[in-house]
């Protein structure tokens, strides 16, 4: 093997990442389009890109496991006689109920719990209540928006400082791509399975966006190194291609180890964190793909355009940590 060939596992020829930009962007678009459609449908149906849960909208969720099976109608009645519209989900054995309603204030909520006890007995340890006032929900939404905004800005500044602005821009575009794919996937879950977004979705989004940039930076770090050692006649695209191929095995292996840790969480982690871990799993795969097949070609595109416009590309400052 010579220096320019890549250590692609099992393969002998390097992947032509830069030459087949259209294909790689096409694959992204092929997945982005259904995501965007799902987001649009969610907007039409729920007024938000995903169906928002009570964390954001405000509302009350009660979850109770009775000691024995009870009639759904009896549970419903407890709420309806107070003119509260309940959205009831019952387990197969009609013991566990999950009831979602608009925000119920404290005194009524206490009365309802007493009435539920009259329907049938249940242990205090098997009762869960989540009640979020509308102001709290707006606060969370605002904080989520701040977190996303500052997150993007912070990363943009960091990469510009450590590399260059166009590196930062390419990394951010790839990151937004992953964000849209994660939101779109969640929209699909909302439309098909009624999945509701909670605070954890924001956590998943930000974590994966951080990971996506993390992944891109590893490739860009190789760009930086290879640019300083570039031979005469090497185009920026050649250097980019070499860098991506040299880091290819690492990208795949890292994302594989993340998939290996996330997959059991998705499969056996229980319903509380299912959506959280599932969206992260999708994000890891998307993040790895976008780092290799989006961020780098985009950077090459920007550089090639700049050269045509007469701007001279510079190698980023040598690495130091």
């Amino acid at each position: 093997m010579t220096e320019t060939t890549a250590p692609v596992p099992g393969g002998s020829s390097p992947i032509d990442v830069m030459g087949r930009k259209a294909l790689w962007f096409g694959i992204s678009i092929a997945y982005l389009v259904p995501c965007l459609i799902a987001i649009a449908l969610c907007f039409a149906k729920f007024g938000a890109p995903v169906k928002l849960g009570i964390d954001f909208t405000g509302g009350t969720l009660m979850e109770v496991t009775f000691d024995r099976g009870v009639n759904v109608e009896n549970v419903r009645e407890v709420f309806e006689k107070r003119d509260i519209p309940p959205h009831v989900m019952a387990s197969q054995d009609a013991r566990t109920f999950s009831i979602r309603t608009p925000f119920i204030e404290k005194s009524v909520s206490l009365e309802i719990k007493r009435d539920l006890r009259e329907v049938s007995s249940f242990a205090e340890t098997r009762f869960r209540l989540e009640s979020v006032g509308p102001t709290i929900g707006r606060e969370l939404l605002r904080n989520a928006a701040y977190a996303l905004g500052f997150g993007i800005l912070g990363i943009l500044l960091y990469i510009t400082f450590r590399y260059q602005f166009d590196f930062a821009l390419s990394a951010i575009i790839a990151m937004v791509h992953d964000g849209v794919i994660m939101i779109g996937t969640f929209s699909l879950l909302s439309l098909l399975g009624g999945a509701e977004a909670d605070g954890l979705l924001v956590v998943a989004l930000l974590t994966i966006m951080g990971f996506s940039v993390h992944d891109t930076i590893v490739i860009f770090d190789r760009f930086r190194e290879n640019l300083t050692q570039a031979k005469k006649g090497d185009t920026f695209g050649d250097v980019a291609n070499r860098s991506v191929n040299q880091t290819f095995a690492r990208s795949i292996n890292t994302s594989l180890t993340l998939v290996l840790t996330l997959l059991p969480l998705v499969l056996f982690g229980g319903p509380t964190i299912f959506h959280f871990t599932f969206v992260m799993l999708v994000g890891v795969i998307s993040g790895t793909y976008s780092s290799i097949f989006n961020a780098s070609p985009i950077l090459v595109l920007i550089r090639e355009r700049n050269r045509r416009n007469g701007t001279t590309p510079q190698a980023p400052a040598p690495a130091q940590a």
């Binding site: 093997m1 250590p7 979850e63 204030e105 404290k106 909520s109 206490l110 719990k113 340890t125 098997r126 009762f127 869960r128 209540l129 989540e130 009640s131 979020v132 006032g133 102001t135 709290i136 606060e139 904080n143 977190a147 500052f150 997150g151 912070g154 990363i155 960091y158 450590r162 605070g199 954890l200 956590v203 930000l206 974590t207 951080g210 990971f211 940039v213 993390h214 992944d215 930076i217 590893v218 770090d221 930086r224 880091t247 095995a249 292996n253 890292t254 180890t257 993340l258 290996l260 840790t261 996330l262 059991p264 969480l265 056996f268 982690g269 229980g270 509380t272 964190i273 959280f276 940590a321």
Partner: protein, 470 residues
């Protein structure tokens, strides 16, 4: 280790590896040669010291982990069960919610929480007019809810005629009789230095109606105590020294600045009552939380084993080193969680498990680079050195962005989100130590002491793949 088996598969002989080693001493720089000549020399190198340090740290971590008594694992409400609620103070016609009023509100809430007897309650001011309360493992959440949401009520009590001293802890019902004087008639309460001595006292001022009532009460209770209760709890029972007719009174005694301040705040809470509205309540029964934890811990162990197996299969010897580092990592992080202590929530545990996958990344980066250098025909030691050195900037920059995200999540998040950000950040920092420092020291030590291990084959590189020396 499966050393011999590896040989057979690759079909290479130890001789090959020695050829690589010999190459080292001829072609590599001084920094690499240093590693070469030391196997027999009495070794007190920084590396040895470091390994001993790591071993001690690991033992310390194991000690912390197994000692649940002194270093209890702190579980979040979503796991151990309990009630998380946010109360919001509302303006009334007469009282606006100011920082001073909030101080009183928090004093009231603390007073009530203490009455529930919950261990280690969390009471925090949140925003400008909210109080966050977390009651772990609470037995009767409904009663606590009713209690906490009430508007503060300050009342004055006297003893029946003939009784001089309040009986201490009598089993029968309290002899105290409620007077008609209450907090709404108290217009001021503030702590001030006692002009007659070094201590502190609390100055009270009543409005006209209060002054009249307090005048009557004090006149008929000279030499006897009058109790002041906030909600149901007695906060003070000063003995009346003489009739107080002007509407101004002082409570003096053995107060220091702090205790005088506390009592004044409690009195003001009753003087300026604001309604407390429950705006958020999350109550989880412990059984539900534990089911989730069991599931995610099981998932975490499966994930950990999968990663360990993958690293071993793909990277062979360094994979084993990475696995050991990973085990050290998991132990260290868990010990840090117990020492800080970090409250473990379900998403926090998920963050910890995810960080295991991310912790390996640094090793993957290093070993991929090492493999690459081996394939270019570099000697084993040179390849390892370069692997660690070159990979470092990538590791540093990529982890910095993750830490940046954690910081942002921590600043803008609350509760669960913060827990997740904190666990992930601790994980990232610890992984920098274990994946870079620990695995490097381990790998070098293994190669120095075990000559048979010095083959690129153990690094997942076929000898045929490498470039012959030019």
């Amino acid at each position: 280790m499966s050393g011999t088996a590896r040989f057979d598969i690759a079909g290479s002989k130890p001789v090959d590896s020695w050829r690589f080693l010999n190459l080292t001493s001829r072609t590599s720089g001084p920094s690499v040669a240093r590693c070469d000549h030391t196997p027999e020399a009495p070794d007190l190198s920084p590396r040895k010291v470091l390994l001993v340090l790591v071993m001690l740290l690991t033992l310390g971590a194991i000690y912390v982990i197994q000692d649940e008594k002194r270093f209890p694992t702190r579980y979040g409400l979503d796991i151990q069960g309990g009630m998380h609620l946010v109360l919001e103070a509302r303006d009334t016609d007469t009282v606006k919610v100011t920082p001073e009023v909030m101080q009183s509100v928090i004093a009231v809430v603390r007073n009530r929480v203490d009455a529930t007897g919950v261990n280690e309650p969390i009471i925090q001011k949140k925003g400008e007019r909210q109080v966050l309360v977390e009651l772990a493992g609470i037995k009767d959440p409904d009663r606590a809810r009713e209690l906490l949401g009430k508007t503060a009520h300050l009342t004055f009590w006297e003893l029946p005629t003939g009784m001089q001293v309040a009986p201490v802890a009598s089993g029968s019902k309290s002899p105290w009789i409620k007077t008609t004087l209450d907090g709404s008639m108290l217009s001021q309460a503030k702590a001030e230095p006692d002009p007659n001595g070094g201590g502190w006292q609390i100055a009270l001022k009543f409005n006209a109606e209060g002054a009249k009532l307090f005048g009557e009460i004090s006149s008929r209770n000279v030499g006897r105590p009058v109790a002041i209760r906030l909600d149901e709890q007695e906060i003070s029972a000063p003995v009346i020294q003489g009739p107080i007719l002007g509407g101004s009174a002082q409570i003096s005694g053995r107060f220091d600045a702090q205790s005088a301040q506390l009592l004044a705040v409690q009195l003001r809470a009753g003087a300026l009552p604001v309604p407390l509205i429950e705006v958020e309540n999350r109550t989880v029964g412990p059984t539900l939380g534990q089911d989730t934890v069991k599931a995610s811990v099981r998932a975490g162990i499966v994930g950990f084993l999968l990663v360990v197996a993958f690293m071993l299969a793909y990277y062979r010897l360094p994979g084993l080193v990475a696995d050991i580092s990973l085990a050290v990592y998991a132990l260290l992080v868990f010990a840090i969680f117990k020492l800080v202590p970090v409250t473990l929530t379900v998403p926090g545990i998920a963050g910890f498990i995810l960080s295991i996958g991310m912790a390996v990344d640094a090793n993957v980066l290093i070993f991929e680079r090492t493999k690459e250098e081996l394939k270019r025909g570099r000697s084993l030691y040179a390849a390892i050195e370069i692997g660690f050195k070159r990979a470092f900037t990538a590791i540093f920059d990529s982890n910095s962005t993750t830490l940046l995200t954690c910081a942002i999540l921590y600043v803008f998040g609350t509760g669960m989100v913060r827990g997740f950000a904190l666990t992930l950040a601790i994980g990232v920092i610890a992984s920098l130590f274990t994946a870079v420092t620990v695995s490097r020291a381990l790998l070098q030590t293994l190669l120095t002491s075990g000559k048979a291990l010095r083959s690129p084959v153990y690094f997942g590189v076929q000898v045929s793949e490498t470039v012959k020396a030019q």
